[in-house]
């Protein structure tokens, strides 16, 4: 193959679908390394501390799309101190120096400042796509900079960021010449937006396919916007709690009915139950529905809506839907692939309307289910075993029993057998979160059966180092391991150091590892003393 001209080699490489494949071919020989690096268009950095930004931009000068992830997953739950790091600045600065052809930037769990956004907006004349997920540190002023300078902007997608509100003017910074928007998501912006500016922006964006509004947008504005977007595929509503005026809602329904391409719906916020029937005409065509931020809808409101969504593939909902509601979902939504049930009450010692029964009902009614996130207050081994048999196609299975170390609600036993059944039956499982009372036994099962597992989250589980070691030794494809409040110590930490070379990150907090143990592992990124709660170690390794 070394006798082929470089153009041919480059063309062959263009068929490689994944980053890891391209990484692999670049290791074959120097020629291939050069060809690969110069033709690489998309670079994915799973851990921003695994490699310096300068090295990335020097190696891949022609990169068009850069994705960088910062803080570890457990930062979502306030386990990482606020000034830990994950700064976007160095990445944007390095790209601004060396890759002016950059068109797309996606960042997750990073700290982004308004200055960073300003630099981004001014440095890349062909910039098209900005996606920020769970980021913080910037304000609506930074968004104004993006709006005003990125003339070719196609996507501005802000998902669950903490954005400081400095007024509604940012939206007005999109120039009249900006007509290229395909996707606009500002649902996480807390403040008002200028409805006139929004309507005008939508009116001049004929390619708009995805629009997610924030809760300041009124029903009337929404209706006016929808009239302009008959090709909309994904909509996040504004607020649906205006003083109930039938005419406004009738207008909304007729506007919605024109959106024949609309497949995905979210928002709702504190929607009044009275408004919900006005959405009914849309339900039959929906494949995605997110009602998980809407505690104002009770079980009957929810089931009336969801039971009409016969094509639903993805459902995010609060536990107010109750077991009975989940049974209705199971009988109506036969195409369901992804279900997330969030708690409406974060009180660990409380009760919720969903139990193991709801989960079993879903599993028997929805055999295509492959992705689950389920918060509940109780679970049984029997239920998990049944679920595993019903749904062997799970790729992501995350179960969170709110009370730590809670045993099987029927037998009082640990939930080892239940999770054991999940990993045994679901041979394609890639992500797993376990909870409840668990002994070393469950880790023995995971190590033995979960051959394709890439990410494992453990909390308040296990008895001895053997648990963690079984996972480290058995799960050949493990990339991310996060553990909190579990009795694993240095023996487990050091039991398979070579394994870390194949992993992206390890998180251990409030475990039994010591400072000395951390020192003995090469390549520590960050360790600090958590006072009396034990050591916290984060290893960040190769790309």
């Amino acid at each position: 193959m070394t006798y082929f001209p470089e153009e041919v080699v480059e063309h062959i490489f263009s068929f490689l679908p994944s980053h890891s494949d391209r990484n692999t071919v670049s290791l074959v020989c120097k020629v291939w390394y050069e060809v690969e690096r110069l033709s690489r268009r998309a670079v994915f950095v799973g851990n921003c501390y695994a490699v310096r930004p300068e090295r990335v931009v020097l190696r891949f000068p022609n990169v068009k799309a850069l994705t960088v992830k910062g803080k570890p997953h457990f930062a979502d739950f306030n386990l990482v101190p606020p000034d830990w790091g994950g700064y976007a600045g160095p990445w944007i600065e390095a790209a601004a120096r060396s890759c002016v052809g950059l068109e797309e930037l996606r960042m997750k769990r990073m700290v982004v400042s308004d200055e960073n956004l300003e630099l981004l907006a001014r440095s890349f004349p062909r910039f098209k796509v900005l996606v920020l997920i769970s980021c913080e540190g910037f304000s609506t002023d930074g968004l104004a900079a993006i709006a005003s300078h990125c003339k070719l902007l196609r996507e501005l997608d802000l998902q669950e960021n903490d954005v400081e509100d400095r007024g509604p003017r940012w939206l007005s910074f999109f120039p009249d010449s900006c007509t290229s928007l395909v996707s606009l998501n500002f649902a996480c912006i807390k403040g008002e937006v200028n409805s006139g500016a929004l309507e005008r922006l939508v009116a001049r964006s004929p390619n708009l396919r995805s629009l997610r509004l924030n809760r300041s947008v009124s029903v009337d504005t929404l209706s006016k916007i929808l009239v302009r977007t008959p090709n909309l595929e994904d909509l996040g509503t504004g607020n649906l709690t205006d003083e109930f005026q039938a005419e406004s809602y009738a207008r909304l329904t007729s506007a919605l009915e024109k959106c024949k391409m609309l497949r995905s719906l979210s928002g709702f916020w504190d929607a009044s139950p009275i408004c919900v029937p006005y959405i009914y005409p849309l339900c039959h065509q929906l494949t995605g529905l997110n009602l998980s931020y809407t505690p104002t809808l009770d079980y009957s409101d929810l089931t009336k809506m969801v039971s009409r969504c016969v094509k639903l593939q993805r459902l995010w909902v609060l536990d107010c839907i109750s077991d009975k509601g989940l049974q209705m979902v199971a009988s109506s939504c036969k195409d369901l692939q992804e279900l997330r049930v969030f708690p409406s009450d974060f009180n660990v010692a409380g009760a919720s309307a969903v139990t193991e029964e709801g989960l079993v009902a879903i599993s028997s009614g929805c055999p295509k289910l492959s992705s689950l996130l389920y918060f509940c207050h109780q679970m049984t081994n029997e239920a998990l075993i049944t679920v595993a048999k019903n749904c062997p196609n799970f790729i992501r299975f995350r179960l969170c029993i709110l009370e730590p170390k809670k045993p099987d609600a029927m037998t009082g036993q640990p939930l080892d057998e239940g999770f054991g059944a999940i990993v045994r039956e679901c041979k394609g499982l890639r992500r797993l979160s376990i909870s409840g009372l668990l002994t070393d036994r469950v880790f023995m099962y995971i190590g033995k059966y979960a051959k394709y597992l890439e990410m494992l989250s453990i909390a308040f589980a296990g008895d001895t180092d053997k648990g963690m070691m079984d996972v480290m030794n058995g799960c050949k494809n493990l990339r991310k391991l996060e553990i909190r409040d579990s009795p694993f110590g240095d023996v487990a930490l050091l039991g398979n150091v070579a394994k870390y070379e194949t992993m992206r990150s390890l998180w251990m907090s409030s475990c039994n590892v010591t400072l000395k143990g951390c020192q003995m592992v090469g390549g520590i990124r960050h360790a600090w003393d958590q006072g009396n709660s034990g050591w916290l170690v984060l290893l960040s390794l190769l790309l």
Partner: protein
């Protein structure tokens, strides 16, 4: 508590520790992607010296993270401010013997694993839902219950949390349903004498007369309301009093 430890990027400030870390690093220097030793131009990052304040190990008391302060089973009067717990205590009595819950269990940092964004967004929604300040209620900021009236062709739904007392409720219901005459202090006038009586179904599924228990207790146990003909309501009053006694 030991003094906070300042830690640098790769290892630890004390020289002995740095040497040990450097030794382990030799193996990895051969790989192309370096791990960024200190001073090699790696991104500036201030390592947080962990203190209780930095990591917020002991969350502030109150509803900030949505955890309630664990308390021993409250008396019915004190329970008025504790929301749903009252009914749950009663339920627990019927099932297993209640296990004492240590206070520490409720205050675990970063648990349950819910994103801050979700917690903050839900808190905002709940604040909007309840007209009073949110500190009293740990749960949802709204409580929609169905209201039926004997003889009326359709039901209504009201949010109990928008009312502060029985009088407000009575006034609102009067507006909703015609032919519902008011007395001086609301509902107590209706027993047996008035044309209609306001009753409710509580969490146990029993039908009770409205007005016997403190407002908060009523609001937390009420599942639905029914405006009954007075003649049908005979016999309800004694049960309400007995039930309150059982709860003590």
């Amino acid at each position: 508590m030991s003094p906070p430890l300042e830690l640098d990027y790769i290892g630890l400030s004390p020289p002995a520790a740095a040497a040990a870390a450097a030794g382990a690093d030799d193996d990895l220097k051969g790989t192309e992607l370096r791990l960024g030793l200190p001073g090699s131009g790696s991104p500036e990052r201030r390592v947080a010296a962990a203190t209780a304040t930095t990591l917020d190990l002991l969350p502030a008391k109150g509803a900030k993270r949505g955890f309630s302060d664990e308390a021993p089973p409250p008396s019915p009067v004190a329970a008025a401010g504790k929301g749903k717990k009252v009914a749950e205590e009663a339920d627990n009595d019927k099932k297993v013997a209640a296990t004492p819950q240590p206070a520490a269990k409720a205050q675990v940092v970063g648990w349950p694993p819910i994103r801050s964004y979700r917690k903050n967004t839900m808190a905002t929604t709940q604040l909007k839902g309840s007209k009073e300040d949110a500190e009293a209620k740990q749960g949802q900021g709204f409580l929609y219950v169905k209201v039926s009236m004997d003889g009326a062709p359709y039901l209504r739904k009201i949010d109990l949390k928008t009312y502060k007392n029985y009088k407000d409720l009575s006034t609102a219901l009067e507006k909703m349903f015609n032919g519902f005459s008011t007395g001086k202090d609301g509902l107590s006038e209706y027993r047996k004498d008035g044309e209609y009586v306001l009753t409710y179904e509580d969490k146990d599924g029993d039908w009770m007369l409205v007005g016997d228990v403190p407002w908060e207790m009523f609001a937390d146990s009420c599942r639905r309301l029914r405006i009954m003909k007075g003649s049908d309501a005979i016999g309800l009053a004694p049960r309400a009093a007995d039930k309150s006694k059982n709860r003590n």
